[in-house]
Structures are given as C-alpha cells and as structure tokens.
Symmetry: D2
Subunit: 459 residues, 4 copies
C-alpha cells in the first residue's frame, strides 16, 4: 500500500513527481517523500501528511531526475523515520530507493546483516535492499541483481542515481508499475493516473521480473530471472487502484463494472434501487444496475473534506469517520428496498454503521452485495489488511456476517465469478488471490514470519 513514481529527462522532474504523487494519494496517506539530484549528490525531503500540504511549503528546485513515494505503513509504526525514499549518499554509489510491496524474508535478512555489523536506522524492509545494494560490487544493474536475488516477496521498485532512473518489478509481478513518456522525458509510476495528471503518454507496463534502466544512453531492459508464473494482486483491481487507471492490462473501472454485473447474476435481489457505498462501490453498482435492471440511484452523499476510510490508522478515528463522511439522502432511501453495493468487507464495522444509518433513514430492506469474495486471509505482499483475527470473514460465516452487519440479506461474489471476470479462471493463472483463498504464492519463510511481521508493525 504505497505509491511510487520517478521522472527522468526534464528539469521539471521534481514538480512532475509531486503532481504524480497527488494522483497516487489514494495509495498512501501517511507521508510523502521525494528525492532529487544536482548531478553529484542526492537530496531528499520527507514529511508526514498529504501531498497537497507538502506542495504548499516545499521549495521546488530543478533536477533532471526525481523519485517520489507515498507511504502507508505495512511494516513499522507510522512515523517520519519510516518514510521513503531511502537515500544513501555513499562515497562510490549514491542512490534513492522507493519500494511498493513487502519482503517476506526481511526479518532473517536483517538479522544476518546485523550480525555482520550492519546498522539499521529504520524499521522498513526496504532498508535491507539498500544494504544489499551497497554490499554488492559492480555496476548498478549487477548490484541490483545481487541484492534482489537475496530478497523474497513483493517489490515494485523505483530507484534513482545522480544519472539514471531504474524501475524493477518482482518475478511474480505482485504490484503494478507502468512506463510513460512526456516529450523527451520518461515517467515510471505505480498507476497510469499518475501519467495522466502530468500529461504523459502511457507506453507499457514494466514486465514481471524486469529491470528497466533509463539513462542518457536511453532505455535498457534486463531480466532478474526467467519468470514462470504471474501473480498480480487481484485486490488492486477490486479495491486499491484508482478507477481511471489501467493496470495489469485492464481498465480498472471496467473490471469493477463487470464484477458488478457478475454479482447481479450470482447474487440477485428483489429491490427498488441499487445504491453504491461511495466511491468504492460506484462502478460495481452501475454494473449491477445495468445487469439487473434495478434503477441506479445515489443514496449516500460523501463529504469532500476527508480521506479514505480503509487506510486511516486508528479504529477510533474510523468510528467517527463513517458518521462525518457519509450522509444518507432520506428521500431517496425512505420506504425503499435497497441493493447496497460495496467492493469488500474487511472488519465489517463500517458496513454495519452504514446499514444502521440507512435503516434510520427509513430503508425498508437492505440487500448488501459485495463485488468480491470474503477476505479470509491476511496479505503478506503489501496490502495492509489486518491480522486474521480482525478479518470478519476468517471466523464468521456469511450468515453470521449478515447478522453482525444488520442487513436483510448479504451476498458475496464467488472466487470463480471473480476470476471469470478478470479472465483468469485456471489454477496456474496470473492473479494472486491469497486474501480470498489462502493460496500464498510465496509461503511464509517459517512459522515465525507472521508474528515477526506483526512485531515490527506494532511497536
């Protein structure tokens, strides 16, 4: 749950990096960091808070290359010390590293590096990559290959040196990463919406296992290793990416609308209107309405003045957020049998509050429909789902969840239906569905992995 971007080949690279981060804000709201260069050294500024706040007071400078990062903590407490990019101004090599993903062998790597005397100054798994790169010999590509041969897990990386921009995607391709062009400059970013805001043209996605080096000599592509299978994160399509982005060769909004159609087929409802939980359920609701013929309506108004529920830190804040974020329109709701569409249920507490609000506003029946299967397993690859104990579907049946939420009926999309929509309906297919199925493409290193992860996450 991070957003990354890099720009090469224009003096405005830093400005464009910040604009791009603004478009990627939904991927991380805890803090922002940018790095730039004067051709000699790499400079860096990191701050907690939103991009728009950052941009108000940050002093832009010209730089031929820049990278940027938005953070939501997957490992490590939310604090300034854990923001990226990680910058190392070594005597021989100067780099800034931006990472989206999560390393599954971080703990053991850090331990063995420390035993050799390494000094870690943050709790970020990305710092392990920095150490391995500095330890390696040779040119930057050789160093990267060495370092990335040691780590396991999910990583989309954007790295800059004073003269080059490098983009890497792990061999399973968990996280998205795309390439664009803006006149003579190149842009790499988590999602295409970051290209759009800059006015850059989309070229292609970075391949799974690809290392892309952009320098004055042009673009050079190498492979980390021969990838056998692909495991792109299906939750990016369902929830995380922006609807106007194009990732994993698919239009996000269209996938969501089609999921809504499939949901209408699998989980029909006898109702008067279809309303989305804004904005997460919007496209699925449009699809559900189209397929079912039940009129689409807007029954919940969202305040423009606050951020996204799911990725806010403390559960107390979440509680009041629902109330101050969404307001039901009584005259839409009153006396109606409602199909309420959302993309997923995590803890169930937000859905419960929404259903309660709608009932108080006079809804006659509420048929909740979810355009993805129940989330039963935590993600080890960078989506900050809570631990298994907090995922309501890992310990409750659909019937029990329905009762907890208080709706009149509850229907989830099936795993099969979901995979049919994304066109990937076979065992060795291209998507990671671990959060729904428990089929982890990279199994936890050992029995302690999860608890270690939590250990680092919690202090």
């Amino acid at each position: 749950m991070c957003g990354i971007i890099g720009v090469f080949g224009t003096d405005d690279s830093l400005k464009n990096t910040i604009l791009g981060l603004h478009a990627l804000q939904h991927r991380g709201q805890e803090g922002i960091g940018v790095a730039w260069t004067d051709g000699q050294k790499i400079y860096c500024e990191k701050r907690l808070g939103y991009v728009s706040e950052f941009a108000k007071t940050f002093k832009l400078t010209q730089s031929p290359i820049s990278v940027g990062h938005l953070r939501y903590s997957t490992t490590g407490k939310s604090e300034k010390n854990n923001l990226q990019p990680i910058v190392v101004n070594g005597i021989d090599l100067k780099i800034a590293i931006c990472h989206n993903g999560n390393l599954t062998n971080f703990f053991s790597l850090r331990k063995s590096l420390e035993e050799e005397g390494a000094v870690f100054t943050s709790e970020m798994d990305t710092e392990v990559i920095a150490h391995l790169i500095m330890k390696a010999k040779g040119d930057i590509i050789s160093r990267l290959k060495f370092a990335l041969s040691k780590v396991k897990g999910a990583f989309s990386l954007i790295i800059m040196t004073p003269s080059a921009l490098i983009a890497v995607r792990d061999s399973l391709g968990f996280r998205p990463l795309c390439l664009g062009r803006l006149k003579n400059a190149y842009v790499v970013a988590s999602e295409t919406c970051a290209l759009d805001i800059i006015g850059a043209e989309f070229i292609r996605e970075i391949e799974q296992g690809e290392i892309l080096l952009i320098s004055k000599e042009g673009i050079k592509s190498e492979m980390l290793e021969k990838p056998k299978i692909k495991r792109e994160c299906i939750f990016e399509l369902i929830y995380f990416a922006r609807p106007d982005s194009h990732i994993f060769s698919r239009d996000v909004w269209l996938v969501r609308k089609e999921l809504g159609k499939m949901l209408a087929i699998e989980q029909p409802a006898d109702a008067d209107i279809v309303i989305p939980v804004p904005d997460s359920g919007l496209f699925a609701a449009i699809g559900y309405s189209e397929q079912s013929g039940i009129p689409f309506s807007y029954g919940l108004v969202r305040s423009h003045y606050i951020g996204r529920t799911f990725i806010e830190p403390s559960s107390q804040e979440r509680a009041s957020d629902v109330r101050i974020k969404l307001n039901p329109i009584k005259s839409v709701i009153k006396g109606k049998r409602i199909v309420l569409i959302d993309d997923s249920i995590v803890r169930g507490t937000t859905s419960r509050k929404i259903v309660k609000m709608l009932k108080e506003a006079g809804a006659k029946e509420i048929h909740m429909r979810i355009s993805s299967p129940p989330i039963k397993f935590p993600c080890y690859y960078g989506i900050d789902t809570p631990s298994k104990g907090e995922l309501i579907a890992s310990s409750h049946s659909v019937e029990q969840i329905k009762n907890f939420i208080g709706c009149d009926s509850l229907g989830y999309l099936s795993v099969e239906g979901m995979l049919k929509v994304v066109g990937d309906f076979y065992e060795n297919g291209g998507f990671c569905t671990a959060c729904f199925t428990g089929n982890y493409p990279i199994p936890p290193e050992d029995a302690e992995f999860i608890s270690q992860l939590r250990l680092f996450r919690d202090y």
Copy 2:
C-alpha cells in the same frame, strides 16, 4: 455563500456546532468561527482554513449554547479579521452574530453610523447589524426588530446571547435556514445536512420574516413584518446546497435530477453516453440519462484530496485545480459521442479545460448540457458570482460560448423549464432568479451600489 449553525440546550453544543459546520463546509471554505458562553460572557475562536483542521487543535469546552459560521468572502478580503461570528461583550448586552447573505444598503448605513462616531473594525456588512443592535433599546427582540428594519438585502441570521439562541430570516427568504431537535436541544442551521450529521431531527424551516427565540422558556416566534412575496434563491437548489439537504420545501437532489430530465426534453442530443462533471452535474446527469435513455457513465474521476472549484479565491489556483482535480477515464471516453452535464457555467474557463481534456482522451463528440439557464447577472444577495464583466453569458451568445468552450454543441435549460421543475412558473412566484433574468427583488440602492460592493471586495 456562508454556512451558519446554532445549538441550544446541551452541554455538547460546541461539539455539535463544529460537527454541523463540517457538514456545511461546502458553503464556505475560507475560514471558520465558533462562539460559546459560560453564562456570563461570550467567547470566540476564529481561524482561516477547513473545519477538519480547526477541529484537530481546537480545545472543546462545555457550553449550553454555541453558534458557528463558515465564511467565503462576499464583501471584504479573505482575511482573519473578516471571519464571523461577530462578538460584542457589551456591558449590558453580550451577543454573537452569524450572518449568511448580503446587505444591499451596507455602505450607506456604515457611512451614517460612522458619522455618528461608530468604530468599525472589519469590512463585513454584518458589523452594521451589530452596531444597530447595540444602538437600540429594550429586549433583544425589540433591538433586533429595530436593527433589521434599517437594513435591506438578504440575511439569514443566527445570534446567541449568554442565555438564548435566535434565528432570523429576511422577509423575502433569500437564504435557507432550518430548525431541528436533538433530544431536549434545538439546532438551527443553513441546511438539513447539518442536522443529519448531529443526529438531529428536522422540524421545519424558519419562515421568511420570522424571528425565532429559543431560551429556557421554550421557543417563541415573532415576525419582522408581514411578508408579501417570497424570493428564495433558486441557485441554492441548482448548485449551492448539498444534494442530501432539504431546503425551500424541496429535496435538493430530486430538483437536480428533475432539472436533468427537463434538460433532456429541451435539449436532446444524439450521443452514446451521458457523463456528469463530478460532483456538480451528478444528479442532473442521472436525470438526463433516465429521460433520454442514453446510458449513464462515469468518465471523469475526481480526486478526493481537494475542495470545490467554484469557491476557491484566485484564478491562477483555479487553473491548475482543474487538472489536478479531474481525470478522464480514457477507455470510457475514447471514440464516444458524449453528453457532458454540468449545473452551470460561470466564466467558462473550467468547462473549456474539461472539454479539452475529454477531446485529448479521445472523445468523438462532446455535447455539453447545462441544467440551468445562462448566468448573466451578478448576485447581490450573497452568492459570490463574479462581476458582470467576468460572467461569460452576460456578454456572449450561446453560440459564442460553445466556441469558447470548444464543445460540439451546447444547450442550456430555459428559465421556463427551470421554473416548471421547481413548480413556480408565475410572475409573483417564490424564487429569486436575478442571476438568470436580472429581475432583482431588491434593486441596488443607487447607481454606486455595485461599484461600492466591488470596492470593498477588492482591496
């Protein structure tokens, strides 16, 4: 263009006031002010910025009565000195005043008060009301009647003393004001969405010309004068109020949807999809789609991390805002003939940028449809439209506007169609349509009024 609220009868009045202001944030984003009491004196805190920022650091205290105000400058520069409530801790009378509207004889009143030695410390027309109240004799109702018999123009007022809460609406009823109940407490607010967020129940709207006094003795209602006609601001329904509010006896969202239907009848288009300019055109687009049978789609994604275009101060900021606020979804747009729905066109510059973005995203044709008539005249009653010279429709024909904006066709709703929708199709009807028709219910006092208004607005 202000939002006001007052709460009486609960120790949490201040907390509820701030929550209510959060729901009214769309009515003013420059600054917030709240007042409260310890039963003796009235205290006040005012700050530039958003309610959510204010709430982060403001220290709540208990108070039986509180009032709050959100400001966008209609007269006077955007500065802290011009925030409300205006608080006067006189030896005999202590009051806090919150005003939504605009006084048309402010300048001459201030001048004559100054000639008598009055000291004005702000540029707000509301300060004139404070002076007149302090000048008057008798109880607060007598004082208010005296003061309000002197002023002309639009005013919805919420006033507190250490023991009472008072709500007033001018005799023509330009601005909305409603009454709600929360257990034993009362709430008055600009719109019902502020009642909803608190959990208060809507009772009724304050009548035109009504003075409502809420005290320990209960509610007492008096009239300023016998109102003859009603002139509620139709632009509140079209653009300004929140869609989930109920004002002027109407559901805002429903009026907008019906305006969209009427627009589809008056201004049909041969197209593949209907898309709204989010969020202002949303309900009209749903209505247009329903009426025309052209599928509704979502082709512009709005960033959640910035506020509302129309009421941001400087035109430079507006320019870049469009780009960083809206992103077209290419795969929705590409090759399509589009009906683009918005609620109004002010300067035309934003529409122009949106059309340009959509064309660049591959739109085949763009048929822009506006769910209100052309805005040709400035508002003197509290909506901060720019001066006549900047209103594109005051000097350009629809054909010329179409060319400026760059769309393939442009159609506005007619005044008649609009009035038919709001059910008010006769000369002495209840709505002020001055911005569309130039029929000002209260004519400017003299030839200098407008320039005086601008004079105060511009330094």
Copy 3:
C-alpha cells in the same frame, strides 16, 4: 508596560519599526503589532510572541509611515484580540493607535459610550480613545484634543493616519516618549534605545501634554492643556527602562548606579563581596561596590535563553524560571559574606529562591540590599504590579520580609534617598512615587475603580 514606536518619512519605515520594537522588547513580551499604509488605507498585523519570531515570517512591505506596539496586558487577558495597534479604517478617517499607559476612567467612559450604542470588540482601554476620536469632528488634532479631554490617566500615544504620524504625552507625563531623526525621517519611541538600534539621532523628549504632528508639512507642536505639575514614573528609571536609554532627562544606567551608591550610604553592610541579581541589580551593585569599597563580583550567571521574570504571566512558570534562569557560581559564593543587590522586591518569592540557592552554594551571610523603597501600592498608570494583597511590602514589615526571604539582613533605600538621587526632593516635584508612597497623582475615580480594573484584568 508597553513599548511603542512610529516612523515617518522613509519607505523603510516598517523595517525600522520592527527593529525598534526589538530594542523595546523588555517593555512587553506577550505580543507585537505593526501598522502601515499604502497612502489610502491602513494595514495591520498582530501576533502573540516575540519580535524575533515575528520578524522571521512577517513579509515586509514599503510604507512611508509605520507604527508598532509591544504588549503586556495591564487590562484584559493575554490574547491576540487585545493586541495593538487599534486600527480603524473609517470612511472619513483612517487611524492606527498605539498606547502605553492606563486610563483610570476607562470603565465609566466605556459604559457611557456603550449606552449610546458603541460596539467594543476588545477589553483594551485604548479602544475608548479610538471611539472618542471617531466621534469627534474636525481635523485630527481637534479630534484628539476632544478625545483626550475626556480620558484620565496615563497615556503616551503614537498614532498614524495614511499621511501623518502623531505623538502625544499626557499632561503629567507618566510614560516616556522621545523624538529622533534618521536622515529625513522622524522616529518617535518609548525609549532612546529604539532610536539607537535604527541609527537615529535623539532630538528631544515629547513634552508633558504635548501633541506632536509630523506630516509632509513638517513638525507641528500643540499642547493639550497647560500642564501644572509633572509626574514621571520613577519606576521606569529604577526598573523598567533599558539601562542604555535616556528618559526623563536622565541616563537610566547612571541613575541606577547612583541609587546603588546612596544605598551603600543608607544601608551599609559588613561583607566580602557585592554581587548583583543579574541583570536588574547590575548598575546598583557597581555603585554600591564603588561607594562601599567592597569588591564587586559576579556570582550569579544568567542563561541567555529566556526572558524577564517579572513580566511573565503565570506564577507557576515564574517558579521554575528562577531555577532555570540563574545559576550561582559556587567558587565565588562559598564561604563569603555577600551583599546581594536587586532593584526591587515585588512578591518576594523570587528573592527567596535566589537566597536559598546562594545559601546552598555555601554563602556564609547574605545581606540583601534593594535600590528602591518597599513597593506598597499598586500602580494605576500602566506598570503591571500585582494587586495590593500580593505586594509583600504592603502587608509585611522589613523584618518580616527579611524572614520570608531568608537573608541575614535586608535594607531598602529610603524614599528620601531615592528622590535625592533623581534630584527631585520636594512636594510638588516631578515624579510619581505612588507605588512607594500611595500618593496617587490621579486618584481612582470612585471606590469601585480598582475592583473594576481587576475585573477586566481577570476574565
């Protein structure tokens, strides 16, 4: 206890005003305000905190005239709303007013103005002056004469209009005010140290009862009324003014040194060293040492990183301040019989802590000597002494104070000795000694005056 300054006749007036306020910082540390003009209107910026903080972020602009004010609250709570200058941009008259002093009939004046409908927005007595000026007719001089004929008490005023700078001193001349020249520009300020920092040359002091008008036509002097006696505040010389200033025709440092000599004559001590409480007792200690022949030494080191004890708001803060502000040098102190010199004792709590520290550091005997008489009466003219109940000398004998403080002997300078030093040893002489003698030059209006003063001060 305020510092005021005005500059006329240079585009750098605002910069010089701020520099001058920095030199006057000892006169008020709660907040700063400056006003300037574009020739049409008067602009103003006020902030709580120090001048050095203010200067960091305040954006300088060019202005031909500027005024500035430093505040320590004499009436009214410490809050931003009570900072000066008071600016009124009336239609006919635009002025900014800076006031040092205290009006003794403020309460009754405000009351009668309010009865006529006046609106007060602060708790400052200065606002009464603003109202009276706006009420008056004629040119600014006539208006001032009218306004100042109504007020009683102490006032040194610096007032600006968009075209003139005015300096006024009340007829008894309580507070200092001086005139200087900087090339073609004029400066008026509370003390000459503000002239020095700008590089301005001292011309003369404003006379008691004088109104000085500086405009493009040059300097014009008028008198408020024929002054009969002079009552300059002797406490300015003893404690409040900066030692490098020249006020009331005297060098402050020299008066203090001479007070120390007189103290040595009146209150000799058998001791090894003389040490000052830094910095307040410095010059008196030098004088005491010279006169007595007991060697001067430095036994208490003062931290450079905090402000002045006496004028910090809360008593809790004062407590810890003593400890973190002064450190005894053990090797100077140990085994010594010490004459400890300070300029005054207010509550006695600070002296007590200092004596305790010195005893703990090994002092054999401590003979405390105070270079002024016991302060027994509160000041009504602008020095923020605490109420009578808190002034230790108003209810305790010298012997009792000695016991409270814990020193081995305690000696105050006599009123006669003090007056002899300042050369003013007769009944109708030029100094106000009310805080020592209770001889108030302007008696409190009526029995309620003091309590009213406190009333305003305390909420």
Copy 4:
C-alpha cells in the same frame, strides 16, 4: 562544539536530561535530540531549534535512563538529519550515542566501511562509531574498546543501552565530561552547570581515556589505553564553557578573571574605563580592572532576546546581529578613553563593528585587549573555528588587525601568559593550544584531511 548529557537511575531521567540541555544550550544552538527507553527499545526525538522551544511541545515520558545532545555542526550541514543521538535498535544491541568532539580519521574510516557495504545515512563522524560498535563482538565494553581503538581525534561520548549508561573520554581528554549524583541517580554531562540546574552534586570529572559504565550493578571504570599526555582544550576555558562551570579541575570564571589580570600586566593601557564586550569579556574585564586600577564600567548593553554570535551559521546573519544585539551607552562612552576587553578575535568583523559603534557613540580612544593569544590555526578537535583563510590572525599581524578593526591600540595576551595562568607552562603540559600555536596533538592523517573536512562541512 556540542553539549551532551546522560541520566541513569530515576524515572525522571528524561526531564532532567532536558533541563541539563537547557543549561548547556551555549554549547550548541542548531538542534536538540534526546533518547529514552522502555527497557526494551530505545526511542528518540530530534528537532532543530532551542531547548526551550523543544520543551514546550515535547511529551515527557518516564524512563530509567536518558541521554541528550545539542548540536552545532562541525561536520555536515545544519539539518535535522545530522542531529544526535544516533540510535540503533539492532536485533542484538540497542544503543543511543551522543558525541562531543571530532574524529580526524573519519573520512578514511567511512570509506573503508562503505567498501565493505556499510550504509551511512548522515554526514556525522559519529555514525562511524556506531558502525564500528555494531561490527564488534562481545559485551558493550569490548565493543566500545574495539570501536574506539580504530578512531582518532577528540571524543567525549555518552552512550545508553536499555539497561546502562556509559561515558567515555578520549585518551588526550580534549573535551570535558563530568560525573554527578542526584540522590540514587547518576548524571554525566559536558559541564557542571548541567549538574547544577538539576540539583545534582558534582563527584568528579571522567578521566582521560576512561570508560565509565553505570548500570544496576553500580559504577565500573575501565581504561581505553594508558594515557601518556593530556591535551585538554584551552579554548573551553577561554571562551566556550559557561563561566559558572568547573572543568579541567578549574573554575572557568576564575581562569577568565586571572587571564584578564595577566592581560593587564602584559598589555597595559592609559585609559579612563575598562568595559567588557558582554558577556564574553566580562570576567577578564573585571580582572583587568582590578589589576590595572582603571574603573570597571558597563558600556555595552546586550539584548536578552537573541543567542550567541559566534556560533550562528551564516555571515549575513552575523552582520545584522551585532547591531541588534549590542547597544553602547553613550553617556558611559562619550569622551572616554576606553579599554575594551574581549576573550578572542576570530574573523575580526564583529570587533570592527563594535569599535565603530563605540566611536560613533563618542569614545575618545579605544584600546582593545584580548584575553587570549591570536587564533591562527583551525581546530580539528571539535571547535568550529573557520578555515585558516578566514582567521584574521593567520594572515595578519597585530598591527594589521588593529587597523582593520579600527581601534587605537590592540593587545593580545601571550601564549606564555595564558599558560602561566592555567598553570601549565611546559612543553609536555596538559593543554591543547593548537589554535594558537599550530602544535596539533593529533596531526591530520594525510594531506587531504582538511579539505575533506571542509568538503563534508560544505555541501
């Protein structure tokens, strides 16, 4: 030029650490850092700015051990990234390191560590120590001995682990470090003034080459190596330490007074008064006056509202600082032949401005006397003197400096006189006098040392 402190054995350790840092503020004004522990991990907070600012908003927590650091940059740019303590929460060892001094082989150590893959995240030489400690094996003492056997230069260190506090002084003893007791708790700090503010009792200084380990088992002392000679920084006594501190077995104030007496013997002057440059020349001036019989006076008043000239970063700021910091008292100065005493001259620019001010104030003659020899050589051991090119005495004769400064005569104390005062008049004596004599106790490693130092200092 840093201040360090550590407290062990009281839950209030963090509060006492911050109080102590306040007393040490003169040793570094760029930034502050503190570290504390919950017995498991070490936590840290670092901020640019003053201790008093830090204390306003820092949330105190209870911790049995704490350390603190004040920074003025000797290597590395003034930025938050270069503040200390350096905290490493390694899996096996968790430490926080505070360093006062400067390592002369930092550059080559960092280079060889980087060649082994070490990642440096700051430009501080102290980070080398952290790396070496983490690389070493065994208990903390063994690790420290290993690490400190590699580094050369000046280091007084205070280190904490979650269960111990360690104090180390290098074998030559360049920088001071003392031990105190507060009931059952121990305090180690740069100077005794930090003990005083806490109320701790001075026990002894840490020996040169001593490692002191304070834990629940009590105090344990070991030696790094057998020290042969001592080289305590004489400039600490002359200028840097606070006058109320006791360091290097001497009372700082007394050394300064005696230096003033010796100066009067070596460099007599025919004059009317002796005045110090406050506060640096205060005690020397008292000594000069006592010895010469010329009366001591106070002719320059220092503003309380700004910090110390010498250690402010940019030369532009220094320029205006002189003017806004010191004001001559004309009536003391005018027509007088003045002996002006200061402790040292670095660039000469400040002295020049002071002499100019005094001349403008009417001084008849100014005889400048400096209570130390000319500073001709940069310091490599932690005093941030400018490079040789900027030290006026490295390229100018006393006569030339006199002419530059504009005084009538100029006299420095001789090296012999200075050493006589500190009782250390022989070749192998105990003080480092390199800045005066060029006799560097630890010669720069190689020809590039100085330029490397500057390289790191300048970017």
